[in-house]
Structures are given as structure tokens and as C-alpha cells.
Amino acid sequence: MRRPTTALQARDTGSDRRKRFKLYMHKYWTLYALLALPITYFIIFKYIPMTYIQIAFKRYSIIQSPWKMPLANNHGWQYFIQAFRTPDFLRALRNTFMLNFLDLVMGFPAPIILALLLNELPFKGFKRVTQTVAYMPHFLSWIIISGLARQLFAPTSGLVNIVIQRLGGNPIPFLNKPVHWVATYVLLGVWQSMGWNTIIYLAAITAINPELYEAADIDGAGRLQKIWYVTLPSIKGTIIVLLILALGNILGGGFDRPYTLGNPLVRNVSEVIPTFVYSWGIKGLQFSLTTAVGLFQSVVGVFFLLGADFLAKRAGERGIV
């Protein structure tokens, strides 16, 4: 709170503030001491490593500190130029956008719908069992899922295709034709994460004031109307925050899913930025090039995040920044 300043007060403001600060710290220092832990974590594991971003602008050497490495050509932009001249990078960029966009379209609404369905279930026991079963796949690593996928979807030895053939159909190339592979990739992603992501929506739904439903009942609202006019508007804030976060990740995404599910026949659509960074950077030792790619990826991600946040605020919602 701002207080009117008089000449007298202005003279001893300094010591006054110090005194108040002391009193404040005396009262609350334990909170700050606890805060020291996460702050130390962020400094050591997030901010200090960030100084290594400069590798993107320097010629990498294994024995020099990044501060001493020589600047790359073209005023340090050599590797950015090289990346955009590499067809493999452009392909990875396109695929990252494509797969993440499809993931967003298919994967974002799925948990909301599932949460609404679960919420409508009258038998609590059944709801709990369903919920638990639905989020089990979240705990499977992609290595295991891709192993299962091969056993199920391989063209001649996969269980699903064996059944299809026994029924007189032709085997479906789930994993070995690019378009089919993309569908398999997206649907496996939905299957794996849908249940887990409902948790946060279910929590938001629980927080809705029951009086709203009672009022809707009195007004004669049906089930669908209650979902549409009460439940959804009440969790809109949650949905928007999660959407903003998801958009910030449009160029991100995991490494293990495309890497383990991919194979030589679909490399054209399965190579994404993380796998490109792995094969060119870590396996190919082109650390500067791939740091540049990683930096580019982060910057684009930040723009998407800020853009989504801006649009959300324009639409009258609370943003996250």
C-alpha cells in the first residue's frame, strides 16, 4: 500500500523499511528457507545449463568450455543456416508439426470427453474401476508399447492381421505404410495418455458447486443440457490453461514414441526433431548443429505459447503468463 510521503517520513524511510523488512523476515524466514530448495534446483538444473545454448553459435570442442569455443562462421549463424539447408531437418520439422498437430486434434478432446462420460456414471464402483483401467497405459513405456504394437500389427505375424486374414480380409499395413503408420501412431498416443489426462478434468469437475446442478434440475435441464451449460463452462478455465500448454509444445514432444514406433519404411513421416537431434547430434556428434535445432524448437514453442496466451486473454479468459 502506498502511503502519502511527508518530508519527515521521507527522511527516515530507509531505516524504516529496513526495520519492517527485518520484522517480516523474522516472521517468515522459514518460508524463504524452504523456497531455497526449488530455487537451487532451478538454478543448477535449468539456468546454468542454459548458458550452454551458446554452443549453437560456436564450433564445438569436447575439451573446451563453451565460453572458449571459437565462434562459428556467418557471425555464429552457420549451424542455423546449415540446418535449414539440410533436407532431413526440414522433413523432421514438417513431421513434428504434423504429428503434434494431429495429436492435439485427436488427443486433446479425448480426455475431456472421457472425463464427462466418467462423471455421468451412476455406479461409483464401476467408475473407479474404469478410471483405473483407463490410466494404466500411462505407466507403460513406449518401448513396451512398441513391442506390443509389433506383436499385434505386424503385416504377417501380427495377431490383428492374422485374425483379419482368417476372416477373409487383406492384412492392413498398420506399421509399414506411412498413412497407416501415422494413424496408428496417433491412436496409440490417445490410448496411452487419455486416461491419465482425465484426472485433472475430473478434479475440476469435482470442484463444481452442486447447487448449480440442483438449480439446473429445477429449471428442467436434461443430462446433455447440464453437461453443456454447467459442466463444460465450469471447467473452461482448466481446458484453456491445458490448451495453452499443449500449444507451447507444438514443436516439442517426446523422443521415445516416434523413435521406437518408427521403422525404415515410414522414416519419411516418423523422423521428428527429437530423433533428428539424436541421430545427427548424439550419434553423429554434431552438437552445434543440433543445439541450434533445439534452440529453434524452443523459440518457436515460446512464440506459440505466448500467442495462445494472448488469444485466450483476448477472449476474456485467464492466461498463464
Binding site: 528457507a33 524452504l34 569436447i62 505386424a154 503385416p155 525404415p264 519404411l265 552438437f287
Partner: protein
């Protein structure tokens, strides 16, 4: 009280951090050998060992009776404490890359990939061995005796004088053989195929007679299997399309890729695989199983569904988890090597590696004990030590026949199982069994595989050496164009070969050419051009590319 608790918790959590900051600094002392040739203080070194994940991991590669014996002996002889670091065999370049990048690589490393060594050397991550080898030569008589100057100095840069890696000795020049089901041939009344056409007819016969050969499992018939590593598992076929009479220089200049994808004629070999794939002779699902994962493939072979495949000359006879021959023997099956692919001159040409074609031994620059590491190699090179590692103790893992030949016997105790044939993963300086004399080696060749009739190995060896030609190696110093591309190009090669093999026949040329052009553009072209230029620079002679070879 509560506040005190908070303070203590925070301090307790922050304290380990300050310890981290303090640690990791250890003084190193100057190498010092006592009069008995031992270090006066115990030296610690770490040594890489391939981990093949065999035996379901019951005998870890880094800790078993063999490593225990090595550790005890080396400690006794030199006062060096050895610790083994396992590196997965089939993804070794990836794994060693990761270890090097993290600064965690073992003191003594080996790899099949010289470009990997070179890449790290270019960044200053590898110890230059030249001064150490000179300084300590008098302490390393067995090492020099085994490797000979040609392997020790093979990688010596003619310009800069640096030596990034020693070449291990390839004792026998081995490459791949073609294996077919001997019992299936017999059942169908077929002779061993001796031409491409006969081989194809054999595959057709396998497919057509699936009911007879596999009964209830007929639908699982795989006339020929292959993996994503087509360059390796198609090698005898593809090399048969390389025209006869190419010069050593040309083969070297186009020899960057160890699968020889740059050699003339290669495409025609892949074209034939494409034909067979589309005829249904080749395992349909092979593209789905990742590079370096042989498990699923080998399971199919062991289950008896596979009629033919190409692999290392002794692959089906190896023990330690592969066990193809011994597993099939239980149901009367067996694989035998055949020689079906003549080249344009009618010769059954095999391009065999020179003695320098094996693993490269190098020390990362994090190695603080170069002398101890070299002495470890010296110890490994001593005949009695490497012989013991290859054949184990008498009466337990081998017996000596009247002729003096060494016969390997099935391990009486499971602990003595070797994770790799002849324990090559421990004897990094040598690949191939050496009993000390040529005569003894010849007698023992087929007796090295417990539970396998020696005639199979003798046949595979005979065929492999039939019309064999050793490919010469040329040393021209550091080649810049290939730095950083080893894994990228390898993955590209595998990817496009797989796509070409499974393409519809009408699209084969388009798919192959697109992949090959991408391979050239990514670095293949620059690599070939640099080799041509460097050769001319060093030897003063220009290498002519064959007519029609488009760069």
C-alpha cells in the same frame, strides 16, 4: 522447534550439493614401475567389454569367471586393478558415442568404427598413442609381436604423425557365408545350389513345399530371412555382382562403407533381393525389427521356420545364446554353408578383410593411465594369456587330442560359458583362435564349437576362403569428409536398402536411386571425392572410376 526442523531439513538437502562441488578431483602421479616390472602403487583402469546380452543375462559380461581371472592375473603381474565396463555389442557405436560424449568412456576402448575414433580425435577427445608407443615399445614385446608393425602403425597419420588407434589383429580373414537347411535339401532331393538361379529355385522349392517341411506350421514358412542390416545379411549376394578385376585402389576409394554399398554392381544385388521379396521368398516383416536387434530373427531361425540366411561364417554354430545349430539338432535340423553366387567371371569371389580389418583400440583423453593401459594390452597379447581366454582351463572347457588339436567341450559348469566365440570380447587384440602354431590352428579350427560337428565349420571356412581376395588398406591420414556422418550414413543406408527391397518391382529403380542420391548428397559423394584426392596427393597416381559410375 519447528523452525529448527525446517533449517535442518534445508541444510541436509543442500549439503550434498557442496560435496559434489568438492569431489571429482584426484591427483595423478607419474607412472612408476618397480624392478619387478610391477607398478609400485596399484593403478586402476577401466576396460570396455562387449555385452551380447546372452544367456539371459545370467553371466554378466563384466563380472564372471573370465573377468575374475583377468583381474587377478593382471593385478599379480603388473599391480593394475582392472574394472570392466559393459557396452551393448549390437549398438556399440551408439553406446560408445554416448559414453565418450558424457566423458564416461572406459580407459581402454575398442570399436569396429574408425570414424567414431576419428570424430572424437578431431575434437581432442582421444589420446595420441604415437609418443607412448615409442616411449614404451621396450615394455611391449608381445603386443608388437602379435599385432606386428603393420597393425600398430596402420592408422599413423603420414602428415601429422598422430596415432589415434591400434588395429587389432584379424587372425583369419573372415566374412559371411550363405547357410541353408541341410535337412530340407535332403528331404526335397535338392543338391547344394551353385548359381543364383539354382538358389532361387531352392527358395521356391522351400516355399512350395512348406506343408511337407513344416507341417502344421506351414503358414510360418520363411524361405530366406534377412534383417534391416541388409548390407550385412545380403553381403555374399551383393558382392557377387561386383565386377571382377577392380583394382585394390578403387575398392579402397569406394570402401568407406563396410557393407560396400559404394562398390559397382551393388544395386543389382539389391535388385535380386527385391525380386525375391516380391515373390514371397523373403521374410515379410523384417523391416519392423530395429537395427541391432537380432533376437526376433534368431528366434525364427531357431524355431526352424527359416530355410536360408547369410551371416558371419560361423554364426549358426556359435554358442552363448545364439545356439542355432544345437537347437535345431534336437529336431534333426541343421544349417550348412553353400557357395551359390558366382560373379561375372564365374569366380566365387569373396572380398576378405586384411589383418587390419578388425577392431580399433583407443584410449579416450580421460585416460590417466596410458602406461597401465598399454601394459594391459601387452598382457592380453601374451600367448599363454590369450590362449587361456580362448580355450579356458584344460579338462573344464577343452581337451587336448592325441594330435595336439584342441577340442572345445561343452562347459561342465555353466559359469564357464563364453559370451562370445573364443572370448573375442575379452581378447580385444586378436580376433580368431590362435594356438601358437599354424599346424595346431588348422587341426583345431572345427573343434572350437561345442556340440557342433566340425565338418560344418570346415565347410563354411573352405567356402568362405574359396576364390577369396584380401582387400588392401591404404593409409592417407585423416579424412575430413566422413567426420560426423558415420551413424547418419549408416542409418540412411539401412533405411533406403530396406525400402528398395520391399518396393514393388516396377518402382525399384526409382526408390533405390532416390535413396542412393540422398546418401551421396548427405556426404557419400564428398567422402569418395576426398579419398580420390587424398590418394592422388599421397601416392601421386589418379584412381579412375569405372565407366558409368556417376558421382
Amino acid at each position: 522447534m519447528k523452525r529448527l526442523l525446517v533449517l535442518l531439513t534445508v541444510l541436509a538437502l543442500l549439503l550434498p550439493l557442496s560435496l559434489f562441488a568438492q569431489g571429482a578431483k584426484e591427483a595423478t602421479t607419474v607412472a612408476e614401475l618397480g624392478p619387478d616390472g610391477r607398478f609400485t602403487t596399484t593403478r586402476k583402469i577401466t576396460v570396455e567389454v562387449f555385452d551380447r546380452g546372452v544367456d539371459d543375462g545370467r553371466t554378466p559380461a563384466e563380472n564372471n569367471v573370465w573377468t575374475a581371472w583377468i583381474k587377478a592375473e593382471v593385478l599379480k603381474k603388473y599391480n593394475i586393478d582392472v574394472t570392466f565396463v559393459p557396452v551393448p555389442r549390437w549398438t556399440e557405436t551408439d553406446a560408445i558415442n554416448n559414453l565418450l560424449a558424457a566423458g564416461d568412456a572406459p580407459d581402454v576402448c575398442y570399436t569396429y568404427s574408425y570414424p567414431t575414433v576419428q570424430q572424437y580425435a578431431a575434437m581432442g577427445g582421444v589420446t595420441d598413442l604415437a609418443p607412448y608407443v615409442e616411449q614404451y615399445k621396450h615394455l611391449l614385446p608381445n603386443l608388437f609381436n602379435l599385432l606386428e608393425e603393420i597393425n600398430v602403425y596402420n592408422n599413423l597419420d603420414p602428415k601429422t604423425g598422430t596415432l589415434w588407434a591400434l588395429e587389432a589383429r584379424q587372425f583369419y580373414p573372415h566374412r559371411n557365408s550363405v547357410f541353408v537347411r541341410e535337412d530340407w535339401l535332403k528331404k526335397l532331393g535338392l543338391a547344394a545350389p551353385t548359381t543364383h538361379a539354382e538358389f532361387e529355385a531352392m527358395l521356391k522349392a522351400f516355399k512350395d513345399n512348406a506343408q511337407l517341411l513344416l507341417g502344421a506350421d506351414a503358414s510360418k514358412m520363411i524361405p530366406m530371412s534377412i534383417s534391416v542390416d541388409i548390407g550385412w545379411m545380403g553381403d555374399p549376394l551383393t558382392t557377387s555382382f561386383v565386377p571382377e578385376g577392380l583394382s585394390d585402389e578403387l575398392l579402397w576409394a569406394l570402401g568407406y562403407d563396410d557393407r560396400r554399398i559404394m562398390w559397382p554392381g551393388y544395386k543389382d544385388g539389391i535388385r535380386l533381393l527385391n525380386k525375391w521379396y516380391n515373390l514371397g521368398y523373403i521374410w515379410k516383416d523384417f523391416p519392423l525389427y530395429p537395427f541391432g536387434d537380432q533376437t526376433y530373427h534368431d528366434n525364427l531361425v531357431r524355431a526352424g521356420f527359416v530355410g536360408a540366411f547369410m551371416h558371419n561364417w560361423d554364426y549358426p554354430y556359435r554358442a552363448g545364446g545364439i545356439d542355432i545349430q544345437t537347437t535345431l539338432a534336437q529336431t534333426g535340423g541343421s544349417f550348412i554353408a553353400v557357395d551359390p553366387f558366382p560373379n561375372d567371371a564365374g569366380l566365387y569371389r569373396k572380398y576378405l578383410p586384411s589383418t587390419t580389418g578388425d577392431r580399433k583400440i583407443f584410449f579416450p583423453n580421460t585416460n590417466k593411465e596410458p602406461l597401465a593401459s598399454l601394459l594391459y594390452l601387452e598382457w592380453l597379447s601374451t600367448l599363454e594369456n590369450r590362449k587361456y581366454l580362448q580355450i579356458g582351463p584344460v579338462g573344464v572347457t577343452h581337451k587336448v587330442l592325441d594330435s595336439g588339436a584342441i577340442q572345445i567341450i561343452p562347459a561342465a559348469v555353466p559359469e564357464w560359458i563364453q559370451n562370445s566365440a573364443d572370448n573375442i570380447d575379452y581378447t580385444m587384440v586378436i580376433n580368431g583362435k590362435d594356438m601358437g602354431s599354424a599346424q595346431l590352428n588348422g587341426l583345431s579350427l572345427g573343434l572350437g564349437y561345442s556340440g557342433v560337428d566340425p565338418r560344418y565349420l570346415e565347410e563354411s571356412y573352405r567356402i568362405e576362403q574359396n576364390d577369396g581376395r584380401i582387400v588392401k588398406n591404404f593409409t592417407v591420414g585423416t579424412l575430413e569428409a566422413q567426420v560426423g556422418l558415420d551413424n547418419v550414413l549408416r542409418d540412411k543406408r539401412n533405411d533406403f536398402l530396406v525400402r528398395a527391397v520391399v518396393a514393388p518391382t516396377a518402382q525399384f529403380d526409382a526408390v533405390y536411386d532416390a535413396g542412393w542420391n540422398d546418401y551421396l548428397a548427405t556426404g557419400g559423394r564428398a567422402i569418395i571425392r576426398e579419398r580420390l584426392a587424398r590418394y592422388e596427393e599421397i601416392f601421386g597416381v589418379k584412381i579412375q572410376l569405372p565407366a558409368g559410375y556417376v558421382l
